[in-house]
Symmetry: C3
Subunit: 107 residues, 3 copies
């Protein structure tokens, strides 16, 4: 590319939609600079997750961040939520433009 790309982590979290307010607060607290949410539905270890039902709808949350922030989010969500909520997390490497936007914390 003519523009410099830098490696960052893309953390994807799929969970119950009812967790959204709490999750968004945790992401901010742990230093994520942004997130993207899409509505989803599906089936997993916790049974049928149907997007057409309020409480059991799913969300798919993407967070572009550095390694340390991804670690902090995964560890915190795993400890705090995964025992009691349907939650799947996976991490992949991506190349991004303007990596300064995706630092762990402001400044």
């Amino acid at each position: 590319m003519n523009l410099p790309l830098s490696l960052r982590r893309l953390l994807t979290i799929i969970c119950e939609a009812s967790l959204e307010p709490e999750l968004v607060r945790e992401l901010a607290r742990l230093g994520a600079r942004g997130y993207t949410i899409t509505e989803a539905r599906g089936q997993g270890a916790h049974g049928l997750r149907d997007g057409s039902w309020g409480a059991s709808a799913n969300i798919r949350v993407e967070v572009l961040c550095d390694e340390l922030t991804a670690e902090a989010i995964v560890d915190t969500l795993h400890a705090g939520y995964s025992a009691n909520y349907g939650m799947v997390m996976f991490v992949t490497d991506v190349a991004v433009l303007r990596p300064d936007k995706f630092r762990g914390a402001p400044g």
Copy 2:
């Protein structure tokens, strides 16, 4: 990470929404432990795929699984559907927590 992450495959299937019931049956039969669906629309080799029309709406299906299950799904869907349906599949490596949830088959 403090928590152990393991490598799995993330298989993404983009196809006509009308295929969903059949696709979901195939995924279960081939050993997928779960899936996530989001509504989508788009354009591809099969022409405009408009999410606002019933029959030609698209779905984006994600399956987190092991290598052998990804192979079985890709081979089966390619053989059975891709000649007659708009369908795109791609596979990427992801790191997951609790990899036991994403084995090919129960047990």
Copy 3:
């Protein structure tokens, strides 16, 4: 896999939904063979991006293409839009079936 998989780029663009018509024209002009759009919302450097508001809703656009096409799209969108619009782009490697469908340009 029994079927041959080839490496391609998956370019994901998250931007304001109002950009969609222009973006789709640019993608076609730059040689993308197809794209997939899902509705999204989120928060980023440009403030709260709420999917329930018309103008500030977000879209998540995926383009499966070769390296040169991904470069052209990233460079063009960065130059033309990223200063004035909320826009995030990231690129990852994926394995695809039927790579001829994802060449940069027809033919």
